[in-house]
């Protein structure tokens, strides 16, 4: 797999050489460039406050891209993540009250709902065997409709202490958004140590081969959607806290952005190739790009255009190593 093999004698340069073969390497280069551009546009870019406010907006995208990454690695796709996030914000904002117990219960309920939505998608993609591109488009409509039923207009209630907590720090050092992101990464590290992790790669890379070696392919696909549900829940909670309102349309843009982030991060849409680290890098890239468009004061009329163009450019950059490979083959 893509893991860099560490040798005790290998120096830093060898490590870099190994990493240059990694699927997320082009994305990493783009990331370094973007950080440089951002830093030159915004002198305070590396200050604590700026990092914190950046991560406040990046964290939902990073987490939902991790969710999308797991699903795409397993050879599937989820076009319902955005509507799922919106539904989550509506469910939670309609139930939250001022007490701490309610916050804890509602957050747990939110995670359960998100996992259930993932399982719903997973059954159709895994056990029923529908093409996920269309089946998750159908569930997207269902989730969006449910969110609209709960909350036709943005509203609900989020306790002040709860959304202020999101803007604060843990132990006065780690901003809460980064803390939640670290929880997500921690969950991924745990998943990495289980067999499910290898099964996901096996099924995404070669489902027939995986089936022949005794892996229950449909269950693994279901598992991928369920695990992604956990990350989607964290993303939904962060979205709710950053906007402090339940909104049936809040998550809509996250669907395509998450797919774009995953692809920019070097994960193959065919499944089985790439790493979740790549998805994280891809999401940060997309976030920084949106930042640049904002700081360059592009009028809102042209932001879509600029974003599309930038995605095309970064994808063309990501295509270069593939072309190099192909020319070597011939």
């Amino acid at each position: 797999m893509d893991r860099v093999v560490k040798n005790r004698t290998s120096s830093f340069i060898d490590l870099l050489k190994n990493y240059s073969k990694d699927s997320s390497f082009p994305a990493f280069i783009v990331l370094v460039l973007l950080v440089a551009i951002n830093a030159s546009l915004q002198p305070t870019f590396f200050s604590y406050d700026s990092i914190k406010s950046n991560f406040m907006t990046f964290t939902p995208l990073i987490l939902i891209s991790m969710a999308q990454g797991i699903i795409i690695l397993s050879g599937n796709l989820d076009l319902s993540v955005g509507a799922g996030m919106s539904l989550l914000t509506c469910v939670m904002a309609s139930l939250l009250t001022d007490s701490i117990t309610s916050v804890i219960l509602v957050v747990l309920l939110g995670i359960a709902v998100s996992v259930a939505l993932g399982a719903f998608n997973g059954v159709f993609a895994g056990h029923v065997g529908l093409p996920p591109l269309i089946s998750t488009f159908a569930t997207n409509a269902i989730f969006f409709g449910l969110a609209m039923t709960i909350m036709p207009l943005p509203g609900g209630y989020v306790p002040k202490f709860f959304y202020r907590w999101y803007r604060g720090d843990i132990l006065k050092v780690i901003p809460v958004p980064i803390f939640i992101l670290l929880i997500g990464i921690g969950v991924w590290v745990i998943i990495k140590r289980t067999a499910v992790y290898r099964y996901i790669y096996a099924v995404g890379g070669n489902a027939e081969g995986a089936y022949s070696s005794g892996i229950k392919v449909s269950n693994v696909k279901l598992m991928a959607y369920v695990l992604a549900g956990i990350f989607a829940a964290l993303a939904g909670i962060c979205l709710l806290l950053s906007t402090a309102i339940g909104d049936p349309r809040a998550g809509l843009s996250y669907t395509l952005n998450s797919v774009a982030a995953v692809v920019i991060g070097g994960i193959s849409l065919k499944g089985g190739k790439g790493s979740i680290g790549g998805a994280i890098v891809g999401a940060i890239i997309l976030g920084l790009l949106i930042n640049i468009i904002f700081f360059a004061q592009v009028s809102s009329l042209y932001q879509g255009f600029a974003r599309g163009l930038i995605i095309v450019i970064s994808l063309s950059l990501a295509a270069i190593p593939k072309l190099r490979e192909e020319s070597r083959k011939i």
Binding site: G75, A125, P131, T139, I142, V259, L301
Partner: protein, 337 residues
């Protein structure tokens, strides 16, 4: 395909099943709202399904050409057709021929860009067409400043929204012109796919790219061409849609991309490529439009419409969009149904 008995074939042929579903939907509509299945109302529903049907035609060509081909830019391409034709026509019939040529050429060229990125840069079709669609949509906004100029001409309004009227006994029959156009195009497309070299090449590169390549077919170029056709048909659809709505609007193409894919999947075209017939996509487009029409007649709110649409789509997919899955091995990846 092995030979099946006539009766069994009716229920296994996805195209026939799709048309049966269309009839069932109209019967449901008629039970709920008397008059839903009246001839003229059926024609009205078919008229609205034409635009989705044209987008599905482009989608069909791209999907049949294989290699995970898919075109998410059909919506923006449709808007290209709307905006370009209205800007050239400016309400005058004298510009009609010019508008038609420019719309088709522009749609074709913009589609080729998709194809070039996919065939020669190796970008995944899903992402390439999505991103290019965003660029095209943004450019239209940029060029028009949000206020598209011009309007449809009388001839285009007749073709897009008018009907051929004649008396059959005492009954006034109205057949929308778009349906006549649709039937003609469908016959041509079916002929091209079944009987010409071009059609066979599309099926060939979709079934087995490498084998086609070894036979001397320039697979990359032909796949690029399929995206050109997709852009062209989408822009053509947009031009007639302008005739239907008269005044241009930048939002007409929104929400068309995925329904056009849903239509072809319902019609039995495999997303893996190389199989299926446009006739199925026609049925799929009619099913989706009829469903939308029924949901409007039932007067559900937006939320109810979304939920029911989602569930019905899932049920349709479960019923017969999947292949005969006997084992897990058939589930390869998300493009293979």
């Amino acid at each position: 395909m092995n030979a099946k008995s006539g009766f069994k074939k009716i229920f296994t042929d996805k195209v026939i099943v799709s048309f049966i579903i269309v009839v069932v939907l109209f019967i449901i509509g008629e039970i709920a709202v008397p008059g839903f299945a009246a001839f003229n109302h059926i024609m009205t529903v078919l008229q609205t399904s034409f635009f989705l049907g044209m987008l599905s035609l482009g989608q069909t060509v791209v999907v049949i050409s294989g290699k995970e081909g898919i075109d998410l830019s059909v919506g923006p391409m449709l808007t290209v057709g709307v905006i370009t034709s209205s800007a050239i026509l400016m309400g005058k019939d004298s510009n009609f021929a010019l508008a038609l040529v420019v719309v088709l050429a522009l749609g074709f060229t913009l589609g080729l860009v998709n194809g070039a990125g996919i065939s020669f840069l190796g970008i995944a079709p899903l992402i390439m067409t999505l991103a290019w669609g965003i660029v095209v949509e943004g450019s239209l906004l940029f060029i028009t400043n949000g206020f598209p100029p011009g309007k449809a001409s009388p001839l285009l309004e007749l073709l897009g929204g008018g009907s051929l009227k004649f008396n059959l006994g005492s009954y006034l029959v109205e057949i929308p012109w778009v349906i006549i156009i649709w039937i003609v195009i469908t016959l041509i497309v079916l002929y091209v796919f079944k009987r010409t070299t071009l059609g066979r090449i599309f099926y060939g590169i979709g079934t087995n790219d490498r084998a086609a390549n070894l036979l001397g077919i320039r697979t990359k170029q032909f796949r690029m061409l399929s995206y050109g056709f997709s852009g062209m048909f989408s822009a053509f659809s947009g031009m007639l849609l302008l005739g239907y709505v008269t005044n241009p609007n930048l939002n007409l193409g929104i929400n068309y991309g995925l329904p056009s894919i849903a239509a072809i999947v319902i019609g039995g075209i495999s997303l893996a490529g190389g199989a299926g017939s446009y006739l199925g996509a026609v049925a799929g487009a009619i099913i989706l439009s009829t469903l939308a029409s029924i949901l409007v007649t039932f007067q559900f709110g937006e939320s109810g419409r979304q939920i029911i649409f989602g569930f019905v789509l899932l049920i349709l997919l479960v019923l017969y969009a999947r292949k005969n899955l006997s084992r897990d091995t058939k589930q390869i990846n998300y493009f293979k149904s």
